[in-house]
Amino acid sequence: MSTADQEWKKGSAELLILSLLEARPRHGYDLAKLIESRSAGALSFHVTTIYPLLARLEERGLVTGRWEEKPEQRRRRYYSLTTKGRKTLAIQRTGWKEFVRAIAQVLESENA
């Protein structure tokens, strides 16, 4: 795991999970795969990372887990956003965008 990977994850993991859950409920493996594929392999979440994170989010009432059975599939635990989770996601997303913009401004001004 690269240093960038570790650093990014520390700050942004929660946001990643919340945003991936915004559209629909997903299970842990699905989340890990999505993060990995959408980051083109730059970010990878394993068991020891994603499940403690989900448990923390659940504990804080931002997501809720529920066992679901779908036809011809194994029973899986799906996580979905709570109302509190949606609000938090909105705040974090805004904050993240402002943060990225600020960083970008700093970097661009240095290069200018």
Binding site: G28, Y29, V47, Y51, P52, A55, E59
Partner: protein, 903 residues
């Protein structure tokens, strides 16, 4: 496919997660691993590489379990209390149900144990409640007392509570002052009831006018027999019907004013007795109560002069004591009165005295107290069973509580209030108790039904019914609930004081079990073992005693015997015709193929009571005037050969011993030995009560059992049928094969003679013995059940405790094995530890058995109470069970993988 579940489970071991959280976590993470593994295979990795990658990604799971514990601690996820206790209770119950579901073994054992304890106690308390604590549904039973004759010298006779004659009773009734009311009755007599289908057997009690008034009960319907009904012989052809007979015969329709025909005599029903009222017997009741004045009409032979003759001692007497009078005072008064009556009506009874005893004392088995002893033993056993059940549940709860120390500590650390924890633990206990009580009540109900099934079915309507008593049920349920709540609360209360840090550490280190808790558990286990040993050994002892009882020689050969009870007078036969019937049937049946011999006798084996009926002629003055208690039999020729009662001296009865010949009698050895030196009674004379000519003893026969199996020897006198006519007799048939083989041909012969002849009782000799042993068989059955239950509970307790203790010491075992300890030495260590409480328990159990066997000795047939085989069987089965219960966990201990437990 790889088994990722066990991989994950292994990594989560000792994580402190509770059962449900751990299971969910394992499932979720194993699925993840599975998906990842498939993905790697699809990407072209080989199996080994894929497995290695997944394993390394799984890594160590401290963070996973820590986060999960935090999530678990914030459970239940339901909304916070809104102040409504009902909502809170519902939420706690749901939580309790969930945690019970996640500990199925614990729940199963705890509920089963509680249910067995409650069920067994409910059953036994119900029986004892019906028989001893509330034996009679009458007003103020403590005021009732029985009046009976007793011998000044008992001479080792079995029966010293002798009945009183109606003539004496009438004198007592008119002259006594101790009782506010006094009554007499003749216990259940077999009668034949005419029904639409033919004849049925019924039991009738003949009562004096104040019988019901003295008891102070109220009829369900109509009225009872009153004093004015019974003023003269033959007056009042009426009857009171029992509640059960009313339901059975009239299907609950209004019986008042309807006629029943008993022994050919029509009687009008005037009332229905209360439900569960069986008369003065707590166990067996009649179908009808009939005025004693109707006795001679219904049972002419038996009641001949019974109301006027002072020597016809056949009535039981009881009275209601005046408020300030004690039984002792009444006893002195009645005794003096009896002496005065004797002097007034001749000197015949001067050796007999009259005594008064509280009725309750007599009902509980009198001075011998057999019923009380039996009941106390049973009560002690089921009480201990309940204690063991409670101890087991306590143990299970403590063990479970200890294993939850970690969970509790985390929840407190996360801010859970101790009151909340206590409430949740209480909710769990409540659920546990409810399940236990529900199942226990079913077992209790089943137990009562089982006991009922032991009773002889042909007379079940006349027997006491064991109904589940609500008071009894509440008692046992209360005790069990108290236990469950008490021990269920301990972990929660401890939690209130728990030091979070040390709690967490302790949870990791030892499963949270303190030394005190261990000692407590071991003591409980030893107690259980002791109790189980006592139960088992007692059960084997009583079982062996019953077995022996079947081999007791009753003095006659019961095998290949059958009996048929008949009373030709009941269907209107006059005396010459009855005699003809007896002769004809004896001859016809004797000539049937398969029949060795047949004869008639009054009475049934084991249904006889001694009465003061024999006076020895030509003995000393004192003896001459006194009547001796003896069993009386009127028998036909061939009786002794049919019964196979050995003739010791002299001869048997012959056809020539008729009313024109010299009156003769045959006596048993007991009477001969007691009254004549060297038993030389042949040719001597004796007189029977109510007869004016002496009888010559022509034969001496062996002693038989007349009242119960294995009884103390009683006097017995036989007189020939042709010299002492009896209207109701029993036909005894000796078959060449089994007793039951000739029943059909005998019944056919009787039908051929007279199709209307009612045979009121048909039984084989073996069945007679069997019926006599009803109580010991029931006791053996009950003890057997309790013994097995105790063994089951003890083995479950032992196994649970051992398995738990091995689990606790897993790390220690791991270290030992890592240091080179062999499997044998590990097993030996575990066994040594497990057998400590077992051996202590066996020692205590032996002591308990010695004490109990002293009490039991009077209830046993021909077996020493300290029977080595019974004790040995008990000890051996417990040792076996204990060995298995300790060996299995010990074996598991050797399978511990040191690298896993030490990681």
């Amino acid at each position: 496919m790889r088994d990722w579940k066990s991989e994950v489970r292994q990594r989560l071991e000792n994580s402190g997660l509770d059962g449900s959280s751990e299971a969910e976590t394992v499932e979720e993470l194993a699925q993840h691993a599975d998906d990842r593994y498939d993905e790697l295979l699809r990407a072209g990795e080989d199996d080994e590489t894929a497995s290695r990658i997944v394993r390394s990604e799984l890594g160590r799971m401290e963070e996973v379990s820590r986060s999960r514990i935090r999530r678990q601690a914030s459970a239940p996820p339901e909304p916070a209390s809104n102040g409504s206790w009902l909502v809170d209770l519902w939420r706690d119950l749901r939580y309790g149900a969930r945690s019970m579901r996640h500990a199925p073994l614990f729940t199963f054992f705890a509920v089963l144990t509680l249910a067995l304890g409650i069920g067994a106690n409910t059953t036994v308390f119900t029986v004892i409640n019906s028989l001893i604590l509330h034996p009679l549904p009458v007003a103020d039973v403590s005021q009732l007392a029985v009046v009976y004759k007793t011998q000044a010298k008992t001479n080792g006779q079995a029966n010293t509570h002798l009945p009183v004659s109606n003539a004496d009773f009438t004198e007592f009734e008119n002259r006594q002052r101790s009782f506010s009311s006094i009554a007499a009755y003749l216990g259940p007599q077999v009668l034949s009831l005419r029904t639409q289908e033919g004849y049925a057997r019924a039991f009738g009690v003949f009562v004096s006018g104040r019988y019901f008034e003295t008891l102070g009960i109220v009829p369900v319907l109509g009225r009872f027999i009153r004093q004015e009904d019974v003023l003269a012989k033959g007056s009042a052809p009426v009857a009171v019907i029992s509640y059960n007979a009313w339901r059975l015969r009239f299907q609950g329709a209004d019986p008042l004013g309807r006629a029943v025909v008993l022994n050919g005599t029509p009687l009008t029903i005037i009332g229905v007795a209360p439900k569960n009222f069986l008369g003065l017997d707590v166990f067996f009741g009649p179908d009808f109560w009939i005025p004693a004045t109707m006795g001679e009409t219904i049972l002419p032979t038996q009641f001949k002069q019974a109301l006027t003759d002072h020597s016809k001692d056949m009535f039981q007497v009881f009275g209601r004591l005046r408020p300030a009078t004690s039984a002792t005072t009444a006893s002195s008064e009645m005794d003096a009165l009896s002496v005065a009556v004797n002097q007034q009506y001749g000197d015949r009874n001067d050796a007999a005295r009259v005594a008064v005893r509280p009725l309750l004392h007599e009902l509980r088995g009198g001075d011998g107290g057999g019923l009380v002893i039996g009941s106390v033993v049973l009560l002690a056993i089921v009480g201990l069973l309940l204690a063991v059940a409670c101890a087991n549940v306590a143990n299970l709860q403590l063990a479970r509580g200890a294993s939850r120390t970690g969970e509790i500590a985390v929840r407190i650390a996360m801010g859970a209030r101790p009151t909340r924890l206590v409430r949740q633990f209480l909710a769990e206990s409540l659920l546990l108790s409810l399940a236990g009580c529900a199942l226990g009540s079913l077992i209790g109900y089943g137990g009562c039904r089982l006991l009922w099934s032991f009773l002889p079915s042909e007379v079940s309507a006349n027997l006491v019914s064991f109904k589940l008593d609500p008071v009894v049920w509440f008692f046992t349920v209360g005790v069990s609930l108290a236990t469950v709540f008490l021990f269920g609360l301990v972990p929660a209360l401890r939690a209130a004081q728990i030091d979070v840090l040390s709690g967490l550490k302790q949870a990791e280190r030892s499963g949270g079990r303190t030394r005190r808790a261990r000692v407590f558990t071991q003591t409980l286990l030893a107690g259980q073992v002791a109790f189980s040993l006592v139960c088992l050994a007692t059960a084997v002892l009583v079982f062996r005693s019953v077995q022996r009882a079947y081999h007791i020689d009753p003095g006659f050969n019961a095998h290949s015997l059958s009996i048929y009870m008949m009373n030709p007078e009941q269907i209107g036969y006059d005396t010459p015709r009855v005699k003809e019937f007896y002769r004809e049937i004896r001859e016809r049946v004797s000539s049937e193929p398969g029949v060795a011999s047949a004869s008639w006798a009054s009475g049934l084996p084991f249904w006889n009571r001694a009465s003061q009926s024999v006076r020895i002629s030509g003995a000393g003055e004192q003896q001459k005037s006194s009547l001796l208690p003896a069993i009386n039999f009127t028998v036909d020729v061939g009786y002794f050969s049919t019964m196979q009662i050995p003739i010791q001296r002299g001869r048997v009865f012959q056809l020539e011993d008729n009313e024109n010949a010299r009156p003769v009698a045959i006596i048993n050895e007991q009477l001969a030995r007691e009254r004549w030196p060297g038993g030389d009674a042949l040719g001597k004379e004796l007189e029977l009560a109510g007869e004016n000519k002496p009888r010559q003893v022509v034969g001496i026969v062996g002693i038989a059992n007349y009242t119960t199996l294995g009884e103390a020897p009683q006097n017995c006198i036989y007189v020939p049928l042709r010299q002492k006519f009896s209207g109701g007799m029993t036909l005894y048939v000796r078959a060449n094969g089994a007793g039951g083989s000739v029943i059909e041909s005998v019944q056919r012969n009787i039908r051929n003679f007279d199709p209307a002849m009612p045979v009121t009782d048909t039984r084989t000799g073996d069945k007679l013995v069997d019926d006599t042993l009803f109580s010991p068989r029931m006791a053996a059955g009950l003890l057997g059940i309790f013994g097995s239950l105790a063994l089951l509970l003890a083995s479950a307790g032992l196994y649970g405790a051992m398995a738990y203790s091995v689990k606790q010491r897993e790390k220690e075992m791991g270290v030992r094995m890592a240091l080179g300890a062999s499997a044998r030495s590990i097993i030996a260590t575990v066994l040594r530890q497990g057998f400590k409480p077992v051996l202590w328990g066996l020692g205590a159990g032996l002591l308990g058995f010695v004490v109990l066997s002293r009490v039991l000795s009077r209830l046993l047939f021909g077996i020493s109470p300290l029977d080595a085989l019974s004790l040995g069987a008990g000890v051996l089965s417990l040792l076996t069970v204990a060995f298995v219960a300790c060996y299995l966990p010990a074996l598991n201990a050797t399978r511990v993988d040191p690298t896993t437990v030490l990681r």
